[in-house]
Structures are given as structure tokens and as C-alpha cells.
Symmetry: C2
Subunit: 337 residues, 2 copies
Amino acid sequence: SSSTTPIKATLFPGDGIGPEIAESVKQVFTAADVAIDWDEHYVSTEVDPRTNSFLTRESLQSVLDNKVGLKGPMATPIGKGHRSLNLTLRKELNLYANVRPCYSLPGYKTRYDDVDLITIRENTEGEYSGLEHQVVKGVVESIKIITRKASMRVAEYAFLYAKTHGRKKVSAIHKANIMRKTDGLFLQCCDEVAEKYPEIEYEKVVIDNCCMMLVKNPTLFDVLVMPNLYGDIISDLCAGLVGGLGLTPSCNIGEDGIALAEAVHGSAPDIAGKNLANPTALLLSGVMMLRHLKLNKQAEQIHSAIINTIAEGKYRTADLGGTSTTTEFTKAICDHL
Amino acid sequence: SSSTTPIKATLFPGDGIGPEIAESVKQVFTAADVAIDWDEHYVSTEVDPRTNSFLTRESLQSVLDNKVGLKGPMATPIGKGHRSLNLTLRKELNLYANVRPCYSLPGYKTRYDDVDLITIRENTEGEYSGLEHQVVKGVVESIKIITRKASMRVAEYAFLYAKTHGRKKVSAIHKANIMRKTDGLFLQCCDEVAEKYPEIEYEKVVIDNCCMMLVKNPTLFDVLVMPNLYGDIISDLCAGLVGGLGLTPSCNIGEDGIALAEAVHGSAPDIAGKNLANPTALLLSGVMMLRHLKLNKQAEQIHSAIINTIAEGKYRTADLGGTSTTTEFTKAICDHL
Ligand SMILES: CC(C)[C@H](C(=O)O)[C@@H](O)C(=O)O
Ligand SMILES: CC(C)[C@H](C(=O)O)[C@@H](O)C(=O)O
């Protein structure tokens, strides 16, 4: 067993399959001797008036205190005017950058080999401003906000990430030929930051062209940085190249060194409680959390155990064409450790 | 030679490789005995104050009079505050629907087989409103406008297209979980129109999920209808699945039965004038124009000649891995007629 003092980390198991895949993470972390003291928060079933959402102030405070956390899928009740839980977390915790690595998993074949992309998404503004109104009957508008502050912050994060992770190129994705002012400001910030990183190749790619290139030849890209909605779209596209959101991790980065790793797939209510869920995305998100904590050795061990289990193919959950239960797949990973 | 009175159609050869690929279309149409009397309009090099663009009032009037046209790539001079020529055409002619079929070309192998998708894009509003301003220093906003009028119009076009082309399903693409009012209105219009077509399957798909599904399994989709920017993104993505914009046609539909077919790739100034351009996208757009004119027999003949020439593989331009010039490739198509 580990001799170090456990690190406190917030855990939001989330809804649907969330608790099952969170259990898998706990078991794998234990098997790898990772000393994490989980501060578990279930999303309450009552709206907290202080957050106008089902997330309580206490849950948010836990992430602010621990500065690190892991989050499963959270379903927002539809049609009641409440804020999405995911968006509440991003806004309240000021999680300004959403990092989603997408890489081909050895042994899990898709149409694409050798995909190795990092999408870095501005996570707080843009098309997600929430500012919308009806101008006159039958005419509605939504407002996209781009600020220099948020754009600089995410651009700086992207270039620093590229540098510290041995990446060669950053592509800024935009539609500034149409949204000259908003996307233009975003690009201008990327240009400025790029100047400080002469060793990193830098290019600007229009989003439509980017999507075409990604499906034709994803190896043309390395790190991609972009405004909120483009990040939402392109990160899902990239996940699709390597098998989907069930296999790709993500981590949200905030001010003051906060990191909230997150499985971005849905809560899959249809298979919840049936021991059928694939915990890979949450496990790999947990690995991102460990790397953030500089627990690199254990991160690599767990990462290899997951990859090797999938590659061997004997234990796979139904979404990957196998017949294993969540617990069987989890046990197979633990056996690799 | 043809015995029918020639139909007058506007031709914008466009910039860069435009004139060469337009010449290819003229030759192929002549070889197929298509009686078109081309009303050729070169984009002028002076801004017409009546359009604030390089497109003159006379050129626009030609399309309004002929009600049908074909357009090559047009490059907009950057940084002079002029409106994009493509956008000027769409707005001035009220070309409300942009139809882009994407299908696997027999004999031209990509990672995907059996792609057969139709993207139908709202072409006049949304994120392309041109409404943008700086709120305070470092804070800019763009306004996305969605109207009931334009949404109903494009939704009606999409369902009518599906019905008249023997299509089974229409998917409305949106991000109404975030842009509840704008994309919400768009969806509501699609819902209303869908009710009138009980024989056509109808579904709503969030854009990020749509992009993931498209790269995983494009055969899940049939006709896709969406607001302007999503159409821009998804039509390029779909084009990428089958080889890129050099191979995919498009047609813009306006009020009063106007149809302007268009190759949506760039003007490729690097290879302009070198007899190297691939005319396929403009040729296939010409085929769409012929179908619009109900010249179905000749449309099918030309379509087959293009497809067969590419499938045989003896004559291909450099972008498809061949060594043929534009004229050699064009002659090969004419020989198939
Ligand atoms: C669930 C939804 C609000 C969310 C988003 O749009 O950001 C999701 O798609 C994501 O990418 O995390
Ligand atoms: C050139 C550009 C303005 C245009 C658009 O954004 O619509 C192009 O990408 C297209 O799809 O026709």
C-alpha cells in the first residue's frame, strides 16, 4: 500500500451509469495504489437557489477547496428552465479550457490509424453566453461573446500545453472570414501568443476546411485551439475518428490550478444499473487527473493497463463489441496492474 | 445537334481555375448536345457601388432574368471591407437553400463506402447576419439571427426535396440545448413541416453528436437540414468523407424558381492557368442545373460519363493522383458521351 498522504479529490459520480463507472475508477485506483481520498458529491435532487441548478454550493466549494476532481455524466432535467449542470460547473468554477485528447487505441480498429490530436476548447463564453431574445415575433437572436481575456487565457494554455507536452503545432480554428470581429479577436489573441512560442508551428484554419481535413487526414493536425462551439463540434468529430465519446477523456482547467477531469459522454439511462457500462472514458479522464497531480508513474501504469486490456480484446464491454460486464472489464484492468 | 431552342443560363466562370473548369463544362455540354445559351459574366475588377461588391447589378440581373445559372469559384479581395462575392450572390438573389449532395464516387476509394447524403443549408441568415460590434474594448459580439420565415422556407424545401427524390429521412441539425431560442425556433419550424410529411422519417440531432455519428457511420443519415453555419461545417465534413470539395456539387435555390449551381471549392490561384484543375465539382454542379431544368436524360448521360471516367482511372487530374491535364480529362469525358 501507498506510504504517501492521500490527496483529497472531489468525485461527482453523476447520473445514470455514472455511479457504476465511478466505482470502476475507485477500484482501479486502489489496485494501482493511488492514494486518493475521494470527497464524493452526489448531485442533489433539489435546486439550490444559490446556483439555480441541482449542483449545490457545497459541491462547488469542494472542487474549489480540493482544486482537483473527477466527474461522471450529469443529466440536466429538460424543460424546467434550470441551467445545465455541466455548464453550471464550467461557469461557476471558471473552467476556461477544456482539453480533449483523441488518439487511436491500439487494438481497437476504426477507419483511422495513428490519430493523435489534442483539442483545446474555450469553455466559458462564445456561443454559450446564454444571451438570447426574441426581437419581434418570428425573429430571434443569440449573441456570441468573445473577449480578449478569455481568448488570451485559452491561447496561452494551448501553447503552454503544446510546449510542455512535446507537441509541434498549434492550429487556431475559426470562421473569421464571416465573423470578422468575434473570431477575428480570437485569432488576434492566438497570433500574439504564437509570437512568444517561435518553436511551435502555428497556423489558422477555417472551421469548415478543418472538418474536411480532419476526416480526410487527421494526422495533419496536432493541437487545435478554438472558441467554445467549434470546440464542442470538433472534439466530438475527433472522438468519432477513434471510436466515440466512450473512449475519450477530457479535463477542464480553471484559474488557480483547478482541474476537473470529466467523461463527456451521456448518462445512458437505458443501461444504467445493469453493469453494462464502459468505464474507459472516465478511467482515462482519471489518468488525466493523475497527470495533473504529477502522479505520472501511476498514471502511466493505469493507462497501460486500460489500453492493454482493450487491445487484448478478451474483456470488452458491449459498446466495443464484447460481452463483458463493467465489473469484469474493471477486474481485467486491475489484473494488468 | 439539338433541335430545341437553347435555354439561356448565366455563367460565372469565376477566378483562378474558374475559367478553365468553366471551359470544360461548355465542352462537355456541347458534346452531350445540351442546348444551353450561356450568358457569361465575368466579375468586374471595380466595385459596383450598387452592390458594394465586385459583382455588378447587371450580373445579378442576368440570374434574375434567366432564373438559372452556374458559378465557378470567386475569390474575395481580403481586407478592403468589401462583401464576399459568394455572400453577395446569396443575399441579393435571396438564395435561401444550399443543396449539397455527397455520395461515394464508384472507383474513387476513400475510407467510406456507400456515402449518400444530402445536406440542405439555410443560406441567408443565422451566423452570417453580418451583425457584429465591439461592446467595450476587448469584448466583441456577433449576432445570430433566426427567423420563422427563413426556417420554414428551408424546412419546406428539405421535406419536399426528400419526397420528390425518394429519400426516407430528414434530420434537423441543431444546438438547441444551448441556443434554445434561435435553434429552438429552427427546430419548431422543422417539427411543423415534418407533420405534413408523415411518410418521411424525421429526427433531431445535436450538431456535435451529428459530426461524431457522421465520421463513425455516415449511412445513418439521409437528408440533413440545418442553419447556415452548421450547414457550412457539415457540408464540408461530408464532402471530406467522399474525397473533398473538388468532387462535390452544390446548387443554391432561390424564390421564384431560381437555381444557381456552384462549385464550392476555392479558386486555387497556385495552379490557375496551368491546365491542371479538376473540373468535376463544376461539372457535377452543371448536372444539378440540368436536373433543375428537367433535362434529366442529358443530366444522367453527363453524370455517367464523369463517374465512369473517374472510375476507369486512366484519366485523372493530379488532385486524384493522376497525371491528366484538365483538357485530357475533359476529352475523356466527352469520349464517353
Ligand atoms: C451537454 C452539452 C451542454 C455539452 C456542451 O455543449 O458543451 C456537451 O456537448 C459537451 O461537449 O460537454
Ligand atoms: C467562402 C465562404 C464565405 C463560404 C461560406 O462560409 O459559406 C464557403 O465556405 C462555402 O461553404 O460556400
